[in-house]
Symmetry: C2
Subunit: 153 residues, 2 copies
């Protein structure tokens, strides 16, 4: 326990700093170390790459889905709401001119919950989008972000 | 060639729309289909996850590095500048309050180029950051983005 406390003390500044290291691997391929995980990125064949990894820009849409998704699972678990078949579509429109950014982003949540808990799912999404999800807050600085929930049975 | 033209015509709208599908896989794990590539995300153990995949927020820093990295490789290739040992560190400071966003982001490029081509690398970075990299442009909407180049030999 003492070691653990010293660890946190020495690293207190780093706890609010995120670092990612990325290496060029030839062609147009890059590999990032994101914590303990390796992410491979590449340009598509139309842009001189080999499509050997994810497109960097589209990766932001995965980031958005993962961020709000983890929030919602965490909140539903705290509310003791049973759920299944949870998926998230993130869809973005690109501007025409360089630099091409996402200016409209839509998030579609699909989930199965007991009928009496639909309002709790709505509350969980609102809490994520308005309060907890940092990625969504960052997206809101450059895009119009909208969302909807499909309840399926 | 005719088939190719028809293909582009039918898909003209989709070319400016990006879509990512993400599924919940239990615990806090989510899996995204980014084009042909699967990205696994998870919360860390301190946040109720199993660290079985990348943290969604940190994934944005990989996206940033990949976007500007691919630009720079493309530009250096067009300029016929030989280079090697190219890597990119992306480091971001988080705000203290929810939603926690990145408010300061630093990009450190490390690269080996012939001494007479250092100015071309600087030009390539400027072109990426000012004109081409959409991810960098999106980051600039919510964060102070700075960069530097380490030329190594």
């Amino acid at each position: 326990m003492r070691d653990r406390m010293i660890f946190f003390k020495n690293n207190s500044k780093n706890m609010s700093t995120h670092k990612v290291e990325t290496q060029f691997k030839g062609g147009m391929q890059f590999r990032s170390a994101v914590g303990n995980h390796r992410i491979i990125m590449d340009a598509g064949t139309a842009d001189g790459g080999n499509d050997s990894g994810a497109s960097p820009k589209r990766l932001m849409l995965a980031s958005l889905a993962g961020c709000t998704g983890i929030d919602i699972v965490s909140i539903l678990n705290k509310m003791k709401v049973a759920f299944s078949d949870f998926s998230i579509k993130t869809e973005a429109e690109l501007t025409d001119e360089h630099p091409k950014i996402y200016d409209k982003v839509k998030i579609v949540y699909s989930i199965k919950v007991p009928a009496e808990n639909k309002d709790k799912m709505e509350k969980a999404v609102n809490l994520s989008m308005d309060k907890y999800c940092g990625v969504s807050a960052m997206f809101s600085a450059f895009a119009e972000v909208s969302w909807e929930i499909n309840f399926h049975s």
